[in-house]
Symmetry: C2
Subunit: 442 residues, 2 copies
């Protein structure tokens, strides 16, 4: 049986969640045992770290109130989420105005040469600021930049080669640092370029979309698309640090913002009930781009992902639970055509379908189905696939999903109270069929 | 001061070398302290393992005689060199007829799908044998193959994409294994493809040239060339195992064989005086392709490289000593045009130049200069660069060598008695100039 149970009690410490109004202490360490009995039946390699530790810096030591989330202090000190991966651990700095705090980036730049990889949309907005942050008070540091075309369709080998061309032309050496300035596509491409250039150079991420901040900033997944498949070519490669300046969200289009919220909502559903409840109350603040609400949502999302990734860096099992809604979502992206819907939009519709299927299996209450539908609508996200999607389109794409092992499609489904999920191939095929027919023309 | 001393006493155990006629015991473990004082001043990261362990299997338990090297036993049991890299450790099997021992490969193939990457020269000779070795008694294992054009000029992104195309078309999944069947170019490309496909799949190497067997088989360096530079794009990626069937050398052209011997000779010069002395006596047997002489030379070369790589996987300092003759050699390959000389031929000429420079610095005896010249000539290798190479050609290429750190070119030079070398930027520039002028037109 290829099932793994992802329960909040087993995988995260209740001390992190049991207060209605949690106080984040000045120095917060969580330690828990490496192996949870419920994962012992997982197939393949499952590498667990001895301990998982999260440190939240003193600047976050502000009590949380239900309607008024954590404030970044007036001094602009960042919140810090430490991603614990042994000697590849790194900090994520989160806060407003961080691009104006050069020491944050500079402490992670070792050599004298930096290559900023960005795109035509982001360069006019933030490239100068980034170069200043890298060079202020550092006359010996040379910053070069390569500006790529914007969009998922350019996430390919041809565009990647432009990064290598620039790196070689500007004589980037082994001690150089590649900086990804942009959204998920830039982060994935720059990260893979950093992993591959001279067999690996330093890498820093400055994500400028909610999606990149709450998803790509943790986990080290980098790569490009192949004409025959998404993310088929890449590497697991960890950055030296991630700098999230929430001010960059001010220039983000509404639709991109909502797309990122789909992933935020996912963390609540799969493992953090209290965070989901916070989102239900604070969605208006998030949609109004309240910086402190966003800082909190990003931090808590990164913490959730960091906990999962620390335990399962190479996606053996537990990490797959982060893909709630993604199998249906990928089918939508592939079947409907990439670029039609944003990733988070497809994930939102896919989440509704996974939740529907979980309910048909009798694994969750009807009330949870309604809450998911309500919060996604509130976030202005789709709650059903595009009308042109057919049952056959879903089935043909899902048959070649990466999560198919030995012919069996494993899915992430909710099971039990809010905050619990399973990654399993052990489900009634009838429920999957019913869900597909309920949402699509046959 | 960026100098590191590579002395036999500091870095390898004398038990390995102090017998005139060494007996290789049934189970051979070498342990030595992690950090040697002489390396404490190295720049950059230097990651050392806690212990370095080499196991030589019982089949190698044959006493060595001066003129009659280790025999592979009649049962065909392989010699095994264990490359110790923590959870990425792997065995190298060495012997005659190993492609006819399916269990050796099969124990390292986890999934049901295998992709053999080879070239137009090797496929007609060994592809069928390899497929048989992978599938004999394994009806559930499917083997696909991709046959690339032969030659260093095809070690590029375009050819690499053909491997990805085939992998995706044949639906290779995360548990699949990529098998490199061929020389160094195939090993480098297949290894990088394995490192990148689905962010990393299993990898097995079957090297069929001396160069690939004694060099690429240890160390995990994979990659491709960029139009502007060699090996600029790649990954450090370790195989599940390396299988060296010495019978594959029967089809190797003489020039390729000699080219590989340049690397074998290098191991003696930089760290294994006794091995160099063995080579001086056994060169005729090697040139006559005596299988037992080759099995011994390959095993001892792999052991030497494994010792170095176990201590310095990412080439921080110690590992650079493996590049004796390579800085001058790269200049020859680049200046003279790739494909004119084989890699080992360029290394041989480069070694003579490094040795000449070491002598001019007063770091080695005149007798060692003569011995190096003599053994390289005996191996039918060049002992000077091509006549068309000028001093300026050397200087311009060496200025952009990867070993230039902060403007200073560091070189691997011999220093002290046979078997000792240094990797240093701390030398008299006059000696370099004199060497270049001694070997080239100005």
């Amino acid at each position: 049986m290829a099932a793994s149970f992802c329960t909040q009690n087993a995988l995260s410490l209740s001390t992190h969640h049991h207060h209605q109004k949690p106080i984040i202490p000045r120095d917060f360490h969580v330690r828990f045992p490496t192996s949870s009995g419920s994962f012992s039946s997982l197939p393949g390699r499952l590498e667990l770290n001895a301990t998982t530790k999260f440190r939240v810096s003193s600047s976050s030591a502000t009590p949380l109130m239900d309607q008024s989330p954590v404030q970044t202090t007036s001094s602009g000190l960042p919140a810090i989420v430490e991603v614990d991966l042994g000697n590849r651990s790194y900090p994520i700095y989160i806060g407003s105005g961080l691009l104006h705090q050069p020491h944050l980036l500079q402490r992670h730049v070792q050599g004298k040469k930096v290559l900023v990889v960005t795109n035509t949309t982001i360069a006019p907005l933030y490239l100068d600021k980034t170069i200043s942050a890298l060079t202020d008070g550092k006359p010996n540091v040379t910053v070069e930049s390569v500006i790529l075309p914007d969009g998922e369709k350019y996430k390919n080998m041809e565009t990647l080669m432009k990064v290598f061309d620039k790196a070689i032309e500007t004589r980037m050496d082994r001690r150089c640092t590649f900086v990804a300035l942009g959204g998920g596509v830039i982060g994935d491409m720059c990260g893979y370029a950093a992993a591959s250039y001279l067999r690996g150079v330093n890498f820093v991420q400055i994500p400028t979309t909610v999606m990149a901040q709450v998803d790509s900033s943790v986990g080290g997944k980098t790569g490009i698309n192949h004409p025959l498949g998404k993310n088929m070519i890449g590497a697991f490669y960890q950055p030296q640090c991630v700098l999230i300046d929430t001010d960059t969200l001010n220039t983000l289009p509404d639709r991109e913002l909502a797309s990122g919220l789909a992933e935020v909502i996912k963390y609540g559903l799969i493992r953090d009930a209290e965070f989901f409840e916070w989102q239900e109350k604070n969605m208006p603040a998030l949609l109004a781009r309240d910086p402190s609400a966003f800082a909190y949502a990003i931090k808590r999302s990164c913490e959730n992902k960091a906990e999962v990734v620390s335990q399962d860096e190479k996606e053996s099992g537990l990490r797959a639970t982060l893909n709630l809604g993604h199998t249906f979502g990928h089918a939508i992206e592939t079947g409907f055509g990439y670029g039609q819907w944003l990733h988070g939009e497809a994930v939102a519709a896919g989440t509704v379908m996974a939740v529907d299927m979980s309910y048909r299996l009798g694994w969750i209450e009807d009330s949870l189905v309604k809450r998911v539908d309500r919060i996604l609508k509130q976030a202005k996200l789709p709650t059903a696939p595009p009308e042109t999607m057919t049952v056959e389109m879903f089935k043909s794409v899902m048959a070649v999903d990466k999560k198919v092992a030995d012919g069996l499609l494993r899915l992430i489904l909710l099971k039990g109270p809010l905050g619990n999920c399973v990654f399993t191939g052990d489900y009634d095929r009838k429920a999957l069929d019913e869900t597909l027919h309920a949402f699509c023309k046959s």
